[in-house]
Amino acid sequence: MAIGRVMAQVAMVMNLDKCIGCHTCSVTCKQAWTNRSGVEYAWFNNVETRPGQGYPRRYEDQERWKGGWVRTRSGRLKLRAGGRLKKLATLFANPVMPSVHDYYEPWTYDYGHLITAPLGDDIPVARPRSLLTGEPMQVSWSANWDDDLAGGPELASQDPVVQRVGDKVRFEFEQTFMFYLPRICEHCLNPSCVASCPSGAMYKRVEDGIVLVDQDKCRGWRMCVTGCPYKKVYFNHKTGKAEKCTLCYPRIEVGMPTICSETCVGRLRYLGVVLYDVERVGPAAAVEDEKDLYGSQLGVFLDPDDPEVQEAARRDGIPEAWLESARRSPVYALIARHRIALPLHPEYRTLPMVWYIPPLSPVVDAVGAAGHDGEDVHNLFGAIDALRIPVEYLAELFTAGDPGPVEHSLRTLAAVRSYMRRINLGQERDESIAREAGTTGARVEELYRLLALAKYDDRYVIPTAYGVDDADRGVIEEIGCSLDFESGPGMGGMGPAHGRAPAPPFGEASGRPDPASVETFHALRTRQSSDAPADRADLKGRVNLLNWDGNGRPEGLFPPRGEER
């Protein structure tokens, strides 16, 4: 097939077998990006227990939430929530926007009460207060309320995927089946959020495929929230602008992995470049049978080792460093060479670019629990065939219901286990194990290096941004100046600390905000290099024990001394 315009995408693969559900990725992401008022409820990265409802609740029910694309009878793609004219006609009130209660009402605790409560017989408690109204509230839902199957069948049976698989899961999954699904923005090749934005404020970056919201151009029409079938675009209710996962592009641009990847305890995330033919995207997303979408998306990717592809990539201005990076890409290897990583919900037709290696552990656990050898390839193969429920569930998640690719992936993982155990025990390499999974011993060992050893440099193969010379890399990491341009990465909008600085003229979010990361960066630098007390003007009054540098006594940090009272 002739190669059309070649583009590069920084993509991610997550190895679900390794996820222990610790939420470290979510927490570090939140600290980096959404620890601001207005996005308290937003988790650019969240970890869901599956089966489970997910976050926001039942977001996969597209009959209700109308995310993604549908194929019309004439074979064209149409936004499920309606085309351009319908978007404009419903501009004044989006008919299918999730409310904050579909995520959860954010809250804090009345910690002050712990030290200000009058002396009494009862120990004072910090009661929850809504971050939206400041009123006391009952906490009744959160981003991971059904973590670890909390709430049992009552909550988990509301999982839209469970409902598609059918009744049988409902009563058996507790014994057989549970895993974690970390989710970030999919940075899709055919992003329906971008297509939904009336202002044209959302865009896909040409160089690395990262999908971003231009904070200066967003006018708050909220159509992107509906458009994204993964519900990974959030509306900042303070600034009135949409925000989303940025794939930590200031880090990616200087060759560093995203925060969620960097801090992942299980080291389960992979980042790398995938080359694709942008002219094949439309047709691939519009194939008739949903089950063909996994295959059609594979057909969009280009083999970086193919000389013709390299030629076309050079023609289209992909730098040499990116081609080299694409050849070494762990993501391309897991997706296309080994075909063990699968896309999340390809049936939304957005061609997502965060892929998942399905978890073999539920199968291994079941085999082990039954008293069999959980590392024997035949036991595992038998179990994959016998344990229909995990396979069907995974197929509904990753291949629009086609069990074939899931089985292939699980069998390959099983072969890696068995094949490598023999080597660890000092036995002969048994090529037949690899053959039974349709692969070779050499490829199994390659997978073992990638999945089990998973060295940092093998997991993250990220080229620096175009025009950023490799020689600059150390400097850029140190001074972080890729953020420091006018109007910056645009995820800002801290507003002043309560009651300290004067409010800007059009509400606290107006004016030219410091991007949050630039602000944090400058605050950190001040703290590390300054002799002056920390309650300086440039910290805008935000002094607490976390950013206090130990110099002087900033006002309000400590209660007044005895003689000052």
Partner: protein, 245 residues
Amino acid sequence: MSTVELMLWGVLPYVVLVLFVGGALWRYRYDQFGWTTRSSQLQESRLLRIGSPLFHFGLLVVIVGHAVGLVVPREWTRAAGVSDAAYHAVALGLGAVAGLCTLAGVALLVWRRRTTGPVFSATTANDKVMYLVLVLAIVAGLATTLVSTAAEFTGAHEPDYRTTVSVWWRSIWVLSPDVPAMAASGAAFKVHALVGMALFALFPFTRLVHAFSAPWFYLFRPYVVYRSRDGRTGPAVRATRRGWS
């Protein structure tokens, strides 16, 4: 022509015009980040889905009505064979319906804003001033309709706005304000014009600026927007399909 009349109808319109145009330009350059609807649909959707379309669509009709009433001279409609009575019947009928929709919509929205905790918390002082002037403008506008309608039925003498307000409005744009024309109009019209000018003066400094950003361009652009890292718009990498195709 008293000094007050001169100031109100001869000077004030130009002050408002400068504030409106200059303010909008200045804010567009200074405050792209604050230029948004600041929608509160995330916090409350049920009432908004009734109130907001009622208000906005009502307002669109009201705006068209104002445009026709102010721009088209009476001689033109007469020349086109439309009798004054027919014109007024349509204008007042349509105006009353659209105005009542707008008022009902904004009333529902204000009530929602006051009674829904999270929405009230998200309301700024700027919003409150804007809502006050906006509601006053709508009420005063409906009052003019009421007065005109009443005059129609009772035969009371009420100056026709098409020979007073509209003449004055058109004269503003040729930089020769017809102050006596406006001074001759009814009290309701004068109040409405003043509140309206206050609204236009406030306009660039409130959330109302989102009206300037009506996204018509969405109909004409390709679905998926590509942009280069250095801010240049990307080359057209995917085929464009227009909104109506």
